[in-house]
């Protein structure tokens, strides 16, 4: 969208104003995502109250906003906004104020790379998973700052627990994420989602027994990394009063809360993309319609409708994950800190490592999967879908980059000077090859230099080392003589 707008602006004669399009689009995306988090948090908090109410034989909120109390969270939010801005006297005022924003910003920026449907992503990164994992880990900084800056001992305890827990659980979480990456051959979340289109048997959780196992490890680690029960040690109310949240109130407290619910959805959304086919439903309804009618799934009204369906699929899966988290929270007691770390290092890491090797061999020796055993072939929701292997290998193979008519016309207008540049941009693969070739050509020169350096280093070493050695030998012989 940004590219289209920028070229349109340039075309309209506003040279040098192309950046405006990027700014506008960024603002639109940011506003959309902020709404996703804010509205998501409102809905999830309401859900949590309703579900916990039903679990505990209560009704939950019933009055605010009609029969089901769905405006309760909003009313609470207004109450929190109007609360007095309290800060303990011992607190480090700057860090105390900054901490909630750090925590919230981490959760928020992770949403940038989370695709909500086929191609519907604010920032299409080819290292989406890596980015998500890195940014999700940033949330701990906010908690640490909060615990340190509050000037309360209980807050400090909570922060240290959180730090220990999050840092340990990054390890198995990373290992769990590597497995889908290995199967799909890409870190691009959109591509991973599209590779699972077709029947639900294409979902990675049904890929082999190891991925089925690793999903549960991932979910446990995900709950631990977003600090939910039974791993909510950082805010364990029966031990640490409220942990790092002890001294927070009003809007600052609710920012932490929003960050928590945001990352809950993030973790379960990631689970949906990596293991449950993301925006692909269990049956490729749109693929079947497309095959029957010939309507395109790439562009046009039907494609938009299909992607909207995908969005609903994705959100349903994400919300289901959050519901399970809520269910777990209201059923289980809390673990102790040593048990949490034990579970991580003694169980999650080895199981993840075992599954990693298992998947490695499973894909290596091409074991049959559910699809090939049942010999099912269903039309895909994604037009490019030509089997997982083809997509996986796509990034190594030469890709036919087609230059759009619009870009061609631009290039022709600009004259011959632009054309080589455009070709270079489009044919990255060729470029890479050339670079490889250059390296090969340059090789004969380089080793010579290395050898020279090595010789010099070797001589130096010899000169330096020989003397102490000699001295040692001398002293030893003297001792022996004595």
């Amino acid at each position: 969208m940004a590219e289209y707008l920028s070229t349109w602006i340039v075309e309209a004669g506003w040279d040098g104003w192309g950046w405006l399009a990027y700014l506008l689009v960024a603002l639109v995306y940011a506003a959309l995502l902020l709404n996703v988090i804010a509205v998501g948090a409102v809905v999830f908090i309401w859900m949590e109250r309703k579900i916990s109410g039903r679990i505990q034989d209560r009704l939950g909120p019933t009055r605010t906003g009609g029969k089901f109390g769905w405006l309760q969270t909003l009313a609470d939010g207004i109450k929190l906004l109007s609360k007095e801005d309290l800060m303990p006297g011992e607190a480090d005022s700057f860090l105390f104020k900054v901490a909630p924003y750090v925590a919230f910003a981490a959760g928020f920026s992770a949403f940038m790379a989370l695709p909500f449907s086929d191609g519907w992503v604010a920032l299409h990164l080819n290292i989406g998973i890596f980015f998500l994992l890195a940014v999700l880990g940033m949330e701990v900084f906010g908690v640490l700052l909060a615990g340190y800056a509050s000037g309360s001992k209980w807050s400090l305890f909570g922060a240290m627990r959180q730090a220990a827990q999050t840092v340990s659980y990054e390890v198995p979480l990373g290992m769990c994420l590597v497995i889908p990456v290995m199967i799909c051959g890409t870190m691009d979340l959109v591509s991973i989602g599209n590779q699972q289109s077709g029947l639900f048997t294409n979902w990675l959780i049904f890929h082999d027994p190891f991925t089925f196992m690793i999903f549960w490890v991932y979910f446990a680690c995900g709950i631990a990394s977003v600090n939910r029960a039974p791993f909510d040690l950082a805010e364990a109310e029966s031990e640490l009063v409220a942990g790092f949240l002890t001294e927070y109130s009003g809007i600052r407290w609710s920012l932490f809360f929003m960050a928590e619910y945001g990352s809950m959805f993030l973790v379960s959304g990631l689970a949906a993309i990596l293991f449950f086919g993301g925006w692909n439903g269990p049956f490729p309804i749109f693929g079947i319609i497309s095959e029957a009618t010939g309507w395109s799934l790439e562009s046009g009204v039907f494609a938009t409708i299909a992607r909207f369906g995908g969005l609903i699929n994705f959100i349903t899966k994400g919300v289901l994950g959050v519901t399970v988290m809520i269910w777990i929270r209201w059923s289980f007691p809390r673990l102790r800190i040593d048990q949490v770390i034990t579970m991580c290092l003694k169980y999650c890491v080895p199981i993840a490592a075992f599954c990693f090797i298992g998947v490695l061999f499973w894909t290596g020796i091409v074991m049959p999967n559910v699809n090939s055993m049942l010999s099912i072939e269903a039309p895909s929701n994604h037009e490019d879908y030509t089997g997982r292997a083809n997509i996986r290998e796509g990034w190594v193979k030469d890709v036919d980059y087609t230059v759009s008519q619009h870009e061609l016309s631009l290039a022709k207008k600009a004259g011959p000077k632009v054309l080589p540049e455009a070709e270079d941009d489009d044919a990255q693969e060729g470029d890479d090859d050339k670079k490889d070739g250059e390296q090969v050509e340059g090789n004969p020169d380089e080793p010579k230099v290395e050898v020279e350096v090595n010789k010099a280093a070797f001589n130096n070493l010899n000169n330096n080392a020989s003397q102490p050695l000699l001295a040692q030998q001398e002293s030893l012989s003297k001792k022996g003589a004595n």
Partner: protein, 401 residues
Amino acid sequence: MATAENSQTVEFDVRTDEMLVNMGPQHPSTHGVLRLVLRTDGEVISETTPHIGYLHRCAEKIGENLTPRQWVPYTDRMDYLAGMNMNLGWSLTVEKLMKYDLPDKARHTRVIISELNRIASHLVGMGTYGLDLGSFSPFLYAFREREKILDLLEDVCGARLTYSYITPGGMTADLPKGWTKKCNEFLDQFLPVIADYHALLTTNAIFVKRTANVGVMSAEMAIDYGCSGPVLRGSGVDYDLRRDGEERYTSLYDGYAFEVIVEKDGHYPKDHDYPNVPTDAVLGDSWHRFYVRMLEVIQSMDIIRQGIDFYESATGDWGTPMKISTKLPKGEAYLETECPRGQMGFYIVSDGTGPIPFRVRARSSCFSNLSVAPELCKGILIADIPSIIGSLDVVMGEIDR
């Protein structure tokens, strides 16, 4: 750990500061107003000192200015979760001084009511223990059933928490008509619910991990510290005042068949389908203390069923409550009863000059039970503090009086 003996070690080892932390009196898991001063090195606790007295209301001194009948409401407010049992202890002590014998019907009424209150009290103990360990739902399941017991007790005496129903001389009223049927109905629907509690807490893997082998107290230690009730029996000491107490108290339970809940030769008395003891659990740990309470709920239900049968065929009336102005004979009396939290003793001295006693004292079970805390809470993690204090199930109103 760095030690001061080796100065070099101190120099090169990373030494962290010890922190003094106040847990309470305004802390979610200290059951009221208990204050624990913890000396911590990171998450490890090296010393725990309980501080009490935040709920002291001079109950004993007030007792020396009121007649025994007037002091009954003050006993309600000691262990406010088991008011009936407090009333019973005081009433029996006064009756011992007066040498008054109860009619049969009143005896069975007292057994039914006090056992019913014992169930309610253990339900709170169980629910709050789950809360201490971070499990919220069992607490509400426990309170849902407790509400039904409170409804029954409300039918009896009009109050839901501070009953003042059992008084010296008998009761303030007979059980209402049709009450025993209601009580039986409650017991019938309550029995299957206990399986839920076992599923959510007793046998839950995380719960077992948090409680088994935590705060292990040997039988000798429990006896040395004067522990009583489920805390003592959880350590494997076969002692229950309902069987081993004074004649005046055990005679209430004449004709009742019940077994003291204590582990004998590795297993508990098995009348019902109880969950098995997990392999990690050691006799005397938090899990066993909790388990004894859970089994006592079922035991009390059996006693109530028997009591209702006895009550319906009993002769006599519900006793004649002592008048406020009744003159006390010269002498003294001390009696201990088995309350939900242990043995609660009341002591009364009268100089024979009027209706007001010369001295009134109460022996608190929770006070002795809590005195173990500094010993148990050494070298443990912070998270174990709620696990241990919760398993002792203290009520500050009874400790401070």
